[in-house]
């Protein structure tokens, strides 16, 4: 009897205590994750943390794992074919047979995903247009640059309008314009209801598009949440940058303001105030401005700085776990 998750549940990807071993190496250790329908889920972690292994379990390329995995309500790997009917996947190192042209590869993958020849023909035109690949439609894939081949890989994943898109390092090798284009494409897909699960080492891009982020370290999910949730959960507070037009030199007295964690002066006209994570930002900024004026300083600008995903990430996985 194959178990099926509640069809009313909005969770499209559910991993429950999933573990995977390669010999003596524990690649995944009781990973629990839920990804909601229509969500863009960013999956980050150091090299060898188990991101690709997780993705291969989700798409059914790895079947001998422990724990439970449900995709769209279907249990993996037992109901792999049902899942494959609604799946688009871009592997980390996308590869095609040498003799295939872009059009031929996409036609084959489109047909294998259930499109008729006419539907595939139409969708190939559309997808290549969106990804700016129309000019290379009849070229051999091996003759394309790495970035272009990566985009062909993305095209094959989008062709059949899948409900779930699993993308392993989709931004690797793309130039800034292509990265921007890619982010626009996946935001649009998510708006249309596609669930997107993607990993990337370019954390700023993950922060730009992901609605929620999962951090994996040494096979364990160490935290999952929105960027704000991750910041506050680990106590990564905000900072305030104050540019002074006149410094009275008495700014150390601002340390006594409630909610201020630390103060530093990186340059003669600049103050950096680190706030405690639970601090009320608006109140503290008011107090800082009042305090500085009372101390005889004059203010040119005040900017609130939130910690980047890079800083949050490094706090979670440590300096040794650079993405």
């Amino acid at each position: 009897m194959v178990l099926q998750k509640d069809s009313n549940s909005r969770s499209f990807v559910v991993l429950d205590k999933v573990s995977k071993r390669y010999g003596s190496l524990l690649a995944l250790d009781r990973v629990c994750l839920e990804v909601q329908e229509g969500e863009i889920f960013g999956y980050i972690g150091p090299n060898g943390a188990g991101k690709t292994t997780t993705m291969k379990i989700i798409v059914g390329l790895l079947s001998n794992f422990e724990g439970d995995a449900y995709i769209g309500g279907f249990r993996m790997p037992e109901q792999r074919r049902e899942v494959h009917g609604m799946l688009g996947y871009l592997p980390q190192s996308v590869a095609f047979q040498e003799w295939r042209t872009v059009n031929h590869a996409l036609m084959t993958f489109g047909r294998l995903s259930g499109l008729s020849e006419d539907e595939a023909e139409q969708r190939i035109g559309e997808v290549l247009g969106v990804l700016d690949l129309s000019d290379v439609r009849n070229k051999k894939i091996v003759e394309l640059s790495g970035g272009m081949a990566q985009k062909v890989g993305l095209a094959q994943a989008l062709l059949h309008s899948p409900k779930l898109l699993v993308l392993d390092e989709p931004l690797a090798g793309l130039d800034p314009a292509s990265r921007y284009q890619f982010k626009q494409v996946i935001k649009k897909l998510a708006e249309d209801g596609t669930t997107i699960f993607f990993s990337s080492h370019i954390l700023s891009d993950v922060g730009d598009v992901a609605t929620r982020i999962g951090i994996l370290n040494r096979g364990r999910v160490v935290s999952v949440g929105t960027l704000d949730e991750l910041r506050s959960r680990f106590g990564a507070g905000n900072s305030v940058e104050i540019v002074l037009s006149h410094d009275s030199g008495r700014w150390q007295k601002l340390k006594s303001i409630k909610g201020v964690k630390d103060l530093e002066q990186p340059s003669p006209d600049k103050l950096l105030v680190h706030l405690q994570s639970e601090a009320n930002v608006d109140e503290i900024i008011d107090s800082l401005i009042r305090g500085l004026l009372e101390l005889g300083s004059r203010i040119r600008s005040v900017t609130l700085l939130s910690p980047s995903l890079d800083e949050v990430y490094l706090k979670y996985v440590g300096e040794g776990g650079r993405a």
Partner: protein
């Protein structure tokens, strides 16, 4: 449907490959050269049969090496991942590869054997009954040996971790197995063609089923 689609795909890839171009031209050429070489020697078997054995031995070895190397390469380059995440049966992929190479090699062999038949008709005083019998035997030996070679190539390709190991296994193992369908002909057993075809189909099927089982269980 997907088997047919994949077969057409693989045929498109194989028939223009450098190895296949060599076979399209090389096998018939070899048959012609063999006629000249063997014209001065005493004949036990007909030209047709000898051409078939020579051609199927060379063609079979090349087919099995080509299949094994191609599968190992594509496996190691992760080419199959994009196929395996489609709602299709996994074994279609290797079955399509087997049939594509087998069809290409079979056509090349038919050309070579046709040259042997032509020579036999000219040299053997038009003994049509003998030529026909030899032709049937030649074709059955050739097709059976190549089927077994190709199936062995698929199995070795699926199971072997590296191209080097695969090539060694094909040359030393695949070749020996592919000689089995020839035994009835060598021993001159009555109705040798039937034995040859049966053993060829049986061994190829077993090897392909084994390959499919391993491929289905494989973790990518």
């Amino acid at each position: 449907m997907s088997l047919l689609l994949l077969l057409k795909d693989e045929l498109r890839g194989f028939y223009r490959s450098k190895v296949m171009i060599f076979l399209w031209v090389g096998l018939p050429l070899m048959a012609v050269l063999f006629q000249f070489w063997s014209a001065s020697t005493q004949q036990v078997f007909s030209f047709t049969l000898l051409s078939a054995v020579l051609v199927s031995s060379i063609g079979g070895t090349l087919a099995s090496v080509m299949l094994a190397v191609s599968i190992i390469n594509e496996k190691n380059r992760h080419v199959y991942e994009l196929f395996l995440i489609r709602p299709e049966k996994r074994w279609n992929l290797i079955a399509a590869k087997f049939f594509a190479v087998y069809i290409c090699i079979a056509v090349a062999s038919f050309l070579a054997i046709a040259i042997g038949i032509g020579t036999d008709c000219l040299v053997r005083d038009g003994a049509s009954g003998t030529v026909l019998k030899d032709t049937l035997q030649s074709v059955s030996v050739s097709m059976s040996m190549m089927a077994v070679s190709s199936a062995a190539g698929v199995l070795i390709g699926v199971a072997s971790p590296s191209v080097l190991v695969g090539a060694i296994l094909v040359i030393y193992g695949g070749n020996q197995i592919s000689a089995i369908p020839m035994i009835p002909t060598i021993l001159n057993i009555g109705n040798a063609s039937l034995f040859t075809i049966s053993s060829g189909i049986l061994i190829s099927t077993v090897l392909l089923i084994l390959a499919a089982l391993i491929f289905n269980k494989k973790q990518f």
